[in-house]
Amino acid sequence: MKLTIKTVSGNARLGVISGMGRHSSQILNTPMCLLYTPGGCAPYLSKDMLQKVLNLPQISHIPVNAIVEHQTSLEKFGKGMATFSSMEEFILYSSVQDPSQAVQSGYNEKMGVAVWTKGGKVKLRPEDYMQLQAAIQPDIFQALCDSDTDGLSKRKRVRKSVSRTLEYLDKCVELRDNLKSLEDSCMFGVCVGGYEEDQRVTSAKETSLRPVSGFILEGFHQMGPEMAEFPFTKISHLVTATLKNVPEDKPRMLPGPWDPLSIIQAVKAGIDMFDSTYPYVMAEKGQAITYVYKQEPKELRNNKPEDALQEQETHATNIMDLNEPRYHDDFKPILESCQCYSCLNFTRAYINHLLNTKELLGQTLLMMHNFQSYFDFFETIRESVAKNNLQSLEQLLMQHHQDNTHFAQDHRKS
């Protein structure tokens, strides 16, 4: 894998990733996000529905917890998870944990890491983990790590997570050499260190010395739906400290359900890759992403001035909760200006009804809208980095955060 930086805007980078093993003809533009595909499929979306989403990321993200129980089938199958799940056209990335689910804290040990499957907790030692990855045959994968720390973790625990993560990494590096099916796979090292800045620096420096193809920053939060409201500004100093101590020419990933404003701030700090658990987490709650970030509002379909005014009002909230009774008889699409499948074909009232009656189609339509919004947003981010106007994009989003008080408070503090 090769990362070429094309433009730099402060610490933000516009990059191109190429030479991805089995997918060597593909190039990836960063900053980018992955396509969240737990168990090998996009949530709620069959392949034909998924194909209706434009700007699909080229990397399919599969957390291992959904696969652990099926390792034997996968090994018998022999051709890897991408083929098993009929996603061969995607580059496959597999992670230790699923960022859309809060990790249950306190179950990692010196010996190995706990992942949570449908059948319960499974302990993975580096050797187990690498055997699993050998069956998955990913193009990129995360090294085994102990990222079970957050803002409340004691220093002792943080130091343990740093040393364990390095031990696991070294073991993974060693084991990888003997696993033929991982020959073409790239391994990303994990920088941890909780909220202890010096530990962050240590973790980053040490990880940089190992033969890794990229860096994943974790250990800030237990992840899961609550993270959708966690502002990046709380950890920006830690991210900066980490990134100062990893090489420039390798991609940096920040997993987790980050809202668009946090994404911009993370890109400004130097992050290249994100996942797409945020759209999923929001869809699960019955919420649509309604950030407006176009400098000029797109032509509204009906061109009615009242609609434009309404649209501005709704945009002010960034998030539309379709569960709210006020949408019961609102026959507009989620966003007039959105070109996604859901907005072109269905109304707020219909989605409200589906959520109210707990029908699967409710989340399905929100998933499509949210994915589309997020992927379009990354297009805009890349454009902004190229044009060097990330700052104004950030300001545009911050303006609309005014209604969301706790966000506004936190972001103003920064």
Binding site: C41, S46, S73, H353
Partner: protein, 349 residues
């Protein structure tokens, strides 16, 4: 479609040995090829599938449940939305039931009187009454191509005077429904032949209902656990006494075998929740029965669910892969629904 009739039924082929026939049924939104299996989209949606997917599967007509839709989103909202077609963005045919059956089977304290069905609102416990008039009114708001009369339905294993009472009441309620129907120009009201497992009562009911000016008929009160031999007999008796030149809808049927037999007995339309319901539990319908994909036996089965099935699920995924996602990943439900509905819809021709 000629004149002011909202339905025209054209038989294009008839079987020489059985009562089976293939027909074109023209409805306001769609020409439907019969025999037809109608998947059930209870609350204005079919288990995670969008209308476009249903069209791709070949669905020409789907069902909505008046009881559920009457509660949520409610007839007023549906009127505001210009009907269920517009609300759910389904442009082909819709059929709604009367709400009566659901009421009786779902509500603990439903009580049948001559006036209508008395029940306690599931939301706030207040006493409510579903009359034939109210059922038609709600169905008029929903706007389906075919609507059903409110009938007094008894369980098929019930015996005694209750069966006769229900049969005659259904006829009286049919007349009230016809009277209350405000949209006969674009909505087709079907009567429902009752009479339990009593041949005499069935015959009387069919003959009486035939006297009314209606575009089609339904056979009700069967497929509720009665013995198969009784079931067939009542079906064939009913079709014997209904006009051949109008469509016949056998309600609540059914499983593949039943479909084939009942087509031979002269029925044209069928519905059943089973394919969509069983998809939710990870079961796929196949010619030999059902595959419970959650079972370990499929963990290394690298063939498709059914190698004769043209659906996208069978063309894309293996049983082994489905085994890893059923009841775990949300996507599996729509994938199985696509398969099960395709299976059911293609069994009927």
């Amino acid at each position: 479609m000629a004149g002011s009739r909202a339905l025209s039924f054209k038989i294009i082929a008839e079987c020489s040995t059985t009562k089976a026939r293939a027909s074109h049924m023209s409805l306001p939104h769609q020409v439907v090829d019969t025999p037809v299996f109608m998947p059930v989209g209870t609350q204005g949606t079919l288990k995670g599938l969008v209308p476009e997917q249903l069209e791709e599967i070949g669905c020409q007509i789907i069902l909505g449940n008046t009881y559920h839709l009457g509660n949520r989103p409610g007839p007023d909202l549906l009127e505001k939305a210009n009907g269920l077609h517009s609300f759910m963005n389904w442009n082909r045919a819709l059929l709604t039931d009367s709400g009566g059956f659901q009421m009786v089977s779902l509500l603990k304290l439903a009580q049948i009187t001559e006036e209508g069905v008395k029940f306690q609102s599931p939301h706030d416990g207040t006493e409510m009454l579903l009359t034939p008039e109210r059922s038609i009114e709600i169905q008029n708001s929903i706007g389906a191509d075919i609507i059903m009369q409110l009938d007094d339905v008894v369980h098929s294993t019930t015996t005694g005077p209750r069966v006769e009472e229900a049969m005659y009441r259904s006829i009286r309620w049919l007349d009230r429904c016809l009277e209350a129907h405000k949209r006969s120009h674009d909505q087709n009201l079907f009567p429902i032949v009752q009479g339990g497992l009593n041949p005499e009562l069935r015959k009387i009911c069919a003959i009486e209902m035939t006297k009314r000016d209606v575009p089609g008929f339904a056979i009700g009160g069967l497929s509720g656990g009665e013995e198969k031999s009784h079931f067939w007999r009542m079906v064939t008796l009913s079709t014997d006494h209904l006009p051949r030149d109008k469509p016949i809808y056998l309600m609540g049927v059914g499983f593949a075998v039943d479909l084939v037999v009942c087509v031979a007995l002269g029925c044209d339309m069928f519905d059943c929740v089973f394919p969509t319901r069983t998809a939710r539990f990870g079961s796929a319908l196949v010619p030999t029965g059902q595959l419970h994909l959650k079972n370990k036996e499929f963990s290394c089965d690298f063939g498709p669910i059914d190698d004769t099935c043209p659906c996208s699920t069978c063309k894309t995924f293996t049983r082994a892969y489905m085994h890893t996602i059923v009841t775990v990943q949300s996507t599996s439900c729509s994938l199985l629904t696509i398969h099960n509905v395709t299976y059911q819809v293609s069994t009927t021709p």
